[in-house]
Every structure is written in C-alpha cells, then in structure tokens.
Symmetry: C2
Subunit: 334 residues, 2 copies
C-alpha cells in the first residue's frame, strides 16, 4: 500500500508532515509518497537523516496557502501538491491522500480529481469523537454549508456504512443533530430531514442534541457542516481550555501538585482520549477514493495516525462498501 502525503499542507509544513510520514513508514510499514517541493523535502529528509527506501518524493511546483480561496486553487493551481496527490490516487499510484492543508481546497481537489460516488450530491467529512459509551461519528464536520435535507439524508447513509465498516459497529444508531428531541424542533432543514430519515436504510433513532456527541448513546450523528465544524472546533478548544484551567488550579498548592504527580499516568491516558492527534483527522466520504483531512496545526503524531486511519479505510474496503450501499439504495429509491 502507498499513501500520498501532501507535504506542503499545514501550519507546520513541510517539517512536521514529513516527520509524521517517516514515523508512519517505520511504525506501520506503509509506503509513503511525499508530494511537494523536491528541494524542500530533501532538506527536511536530510535533517532527519533519512532518504528514499519506502518514502518516495513526487515533485510539484505549486502549493496552497491555508487561507487561499479553494475555487481559485482548483482553477489556477493544477500543479499544487494537494491536486497532484489526489491525481496519484486517480492514476492508481497511491491508495489514499493525507493532508493537513487548506481543507476547502482539499475537499475541492478530491471531488474534482476523483469524482463523486454515484448517488452522492455532496461528499462530507466524518469526524470521530470519544463518547463515554464508545466512539461517535459526526458527519459533516465542515465540507458543506447550507446543506439541503436530501443531502443530510445522504450523510446518514454514508455515516451508517462508514461506522459499520471502519469502526465495526453493528447496526449503529443514527440521529439528527437538533436542539430538541421532538421532530417539530429546529430549523427548516432538519425538520424536513427528520421526515426523510424515517424512510432511511439505517437505524434512525430521531433527533439528538449537542450533549450526545460525547455521550455515545448514538453512534452516528448527522449535521450540516457549519454546525458540525463549530462542534468539532468547540470540543478541541474546550479540551485545551480544560487542560489549561486544570493545571492552573493544580499549581496553586503544593499538595495538589504532589497529587497530580502521583496520578499523572491516569492523566496521560485520559488526555490522549481528548487529543485530536490520536484520531488523525476527518475522513472524506462520498468521493471515489480515500482522503483524510487533518487539522491545520497537526503534529507529526497526528499525521502518523491519519496515515493509520487511511490504511484501515483501505483495508476495510470502506470505499467499496460505500459505493455498494449507495447503489443498492439508489436502485430502491426512498
């Protein structure tokens, strides 16, 4: 297996990205193609004292800034690292793309280069959250805004298949993210979606609320990408804020510091649960290929873990199962 890594995308690119790719190569035994500026990549590899051998370089002349307009990138930067990376997947030279770059451009490049799965109007990003009773998949965490009810319905189908195939959860409960449990609650978008979902080929349990993202009572939560992205970033921000506020309290008294030191192992295990680097990134569902979109400020560990998720995605045939599931549903209709 070979994973195309966008070496130029991310706040700490290319250094940290390349470190993550090397880590994945040595720990996971996967081949990696670093896509980006050859000279800069060679320099980074030299720093790490590594060259060649399972880590290949695919040169390209352009890169995408974090705040660049995705539309502009797609039109004008055909040789940008993210475009070239997806092109490697299209040509069968790589099985998946991992990028910590401009997420709008990454989604756009995937859709443009690979094309959408039949039956999918809008590919969506699935994020994995650590719920009390187990993992929760939130879809969409930011690929789309102003999502229409039938598109939310597609997210439901994809989220269900994804959760079964990647997380091995049998018959996951699917809910719509809303501000109350009754079907009459919420904005127009989710009220109409609620009626559609009742006819869905999945275990729809009705509306759920913000708190369910961390309860784990429901395994798939469907949401517009605007709301989902706010939820994703809020939980990252809250995890950071909690760490800071907690350390502040602990450091006030010697006895607290001692206590903290004694229980530090439990802390570390616990912190890892809340660390998005453990989950690597969000998974793009609905395109003909595999794309993992990492946080812009990803560490090398996040990149390594994203590559691990990409491998799982490929090995579990999530892509094929999404295509099968959507085709089956298409032939039946709602």
């Amino acid at each position: 297996m070979n994973i195309a890594v966008d070496a130029m995308g991310g706040d700490h690119a290319p250094g940290v990205i390349i470190q993550g790719a090397l880590w994945a190569y040595s720990e996971l035994g996967v081949n990696v193609t670093l896509v980006g500026d050859e000279d800069r990549i060679w320099k980074e590899l030299a720093k790490e004292g590594k060259t060649g051998n399972g880590v290949q370089i695919h040169h390209c002349s352009q890169m995408v800034a974090m705040d660049e307009s995705p539309l502009k990138v797609l039109r004008q930067k055909k040789d940008a690292s993210i475009m070239v990376a997806f092109d490697l997947v299209k040509k069968g030279k790589a099985e998946a793309v991992v990028s910590a770059g401009n997420s709008g451009a990454t989604v756009g490049a995937a859709v443009l280069t690979l094309g959408r799965i039949k039956g999918v109007e809008r590919p969506a990003l699935a994020g994995i959250f650590p719920g009390v009773k187990g993992n929760v998949v939130l879809i969409d965490v930011g690929a789309n805004v102003d999502t229409r009810p039938n598109q939310l319905f597609e997210f439901g189908i994809m989220g269900d298949i994804f959760t079964r195939s990647l997380l091995n959860i049998d018959n996951p409960k699917v809910g719509i993210l809303n501000i109350g449990e009754e079907g009459s609650k919420g904005n127009e978008q989710v009220r109409i979606a609620h009626d559609l979902f009742k006819k869905g080929p999945f275990n729809f349990v009705g509306n759920v609320e913000g708190r369910d993202i961390f309860s784990g009572d429901v395994q798939v939560i469907v949401s517009d990408g605007f709301v989902g992205n706010v939820a994703l970033k809020l939980s990252e921000g809250m995890a950071d804020a909690i760490s800071i506020m907690f350390e502040r309290e602990i450091s006030r008294r010697f006895i607290s510091k001692l206590g903290f030191w004694l229980s530090r192992r439990a802390f570390e295990t616990f912190r890892r649960k809340l660390d998005y680097a453990e989950y690597g990134g969000a998974l793009l569902l609905g395109v003909k290929g595999v794309g993992i979109i990492c946080h812009g400020s990803s560490s090398s560990k996040a990149i390594k873990n994203a590559i691990r998720i990409a491998i799982d995605f490929v090995n579990n045939h999530v892509q094929e199962r999404l295509e099968e599931g959507l085709a089956k549903f298409q032939s039946k209709g709602i």
Copy 2:
C-alpha cells in the same frame, strides 16, 4: 426586590425549584414569589419546614410540560405558571422571572406578556461560558432558529451592551461564530452578517471559530440559536463526559486514587468552573423585563444562582441600558 419563580417548570419541579428559591431567600435576602399550584407548593414548603416570610405563593391553575408546543401553551394556557410569572413582572409585582421549564414556552410567554424592546425583532438568549482568559457571552443559545443577518446584528448590539453592563467588561470584542476567519467563509446568513457587523456600534473583530467559545480572546460571540444551542449542550455534555472518563482512569490504580484524593480541592474548584449550575441559566435579552431560563434538569443550586443573576441584572440596570442603546442606534440607523 421580588423575583417570580416558576415553581412548576423543570424536570425536578416543584421540589428542587422551591428548595432553590428558599436558598436564595436565605442567602441573598431577596423576596421570592413561587408561582404554581398552591397545594403542591405548600406541601413542599412543609417538607422544608418553611412557610411564608419573604417567600410568597401565587396560585395558578395550569402548568406546562417540558415537551409541550410553545404555541399551544401561549394560545390555550393563559393561567400556566410561566404566563402568570411574567404577568407579575408586567404588573410591577416582581422584578424578574426565573424558570427551568419548557424554554420555548418561557421565551414565548416573555415576548407575549412583556413585549419586545423597540428595535428588537427577535429577543435572544445569552449564555455565559468560562473562557481561559475570562468569561465569554454567546448569543443566541436557543431562542431562535433560521435567524436573519439583521437579527444577528441585533444580537451583536445586545450582547455588547449586556457584556458591558452585567460583566463589567469595557469595550468587549465582538465576533461572529463561523467556520473560518475570512469574511467569505460560512453560510449565507453569516456572510451577509459579516458586512453588516462592520458598521456596528461595537468593537467587531471579525469571524471567530468554535474554539473561541472557550479561549476568551473575544468576549461576545454572535450566533444563530440553532448553532448556539448545539454549542451550549455540547459543552455541558463534554464537561460531564470528561468527569466520567477521568474518574474511570483515576480509579484504575491505587496510586492514582491517592493522587486524586490529595489534589481533590483543586478538582473541586476546577469542576465548579465547568458546572452550568454555577451560572444559573441563560438570560433573555430584548424583552421589556428580566427573564432567566435555567436548564431543565437544574439543581436547587442552579435555581439559587439564577436568582442571583436576576438580581445582578436588575441592579446593574441591564434592561434600561439595552433600551437606551437600541434607541440610540435606531435613531442613527446603520
């Protein structure tokens, strides 16, 4: 000062609500009128061994269930406790209403009974979040869905005035909750709002993201009530989940338990920060009177603290300052 408390509203009403009201009376020295079924209230008071003396009862014949349609309540239940409570404010017999009941019905009853402040199309709920660098006000946390850009703009004006007057923050930074910093990001609603906000009579700093709700870099964050409500409930759910997951880790090893015991004081201080009961409830801004809406599952402490916030609201003349600010702005226009 006299606070009208909806004794019949909330998952644990009337018992816990009455306990909270009694607590407020004894700790804060405020008069409280319990609105609800006289017999049931007397019974609860008898249990607590308290009668009369600063805690008065105002009987009414109806109550509102948590899942009842707000519209139906407003039309058919004129003698519901929440309607009667706001009527006491309208008649000058109470300064504020505190309710843990059906929040849709509470907002509706406030608007119908008290009327809106001139210049306000949609009253909104302000929630206070404990940011790393200080409190953050998120407005709206659930009074409205499908908010129009000009209504978001009103939320900005109200949020600014509220934050200055209740939290004593001078010239607070105001941001729009979005999924990226650039003005071109997000859904149609926030893109149009971004242009309006530039002309606002407040310190607009542009778009902010989910993580800023807990950073405290910006003090006022404006959002549609759907997104705001998901954010509010997500953070409550995450705080609970973190406590549970943390305790689970701690209990695995004796040394961790010991460490936890030594640092328990720091934990308690820290937990209180994340406990919504400390903040009492969300504040309804934009109606001609004071209304505090508490979580349905509020404890007596949450009710007591909500009454304290109501007192602060009245003493700091937030209501008058909102009216003045909106009138001033109205006369100028955008």
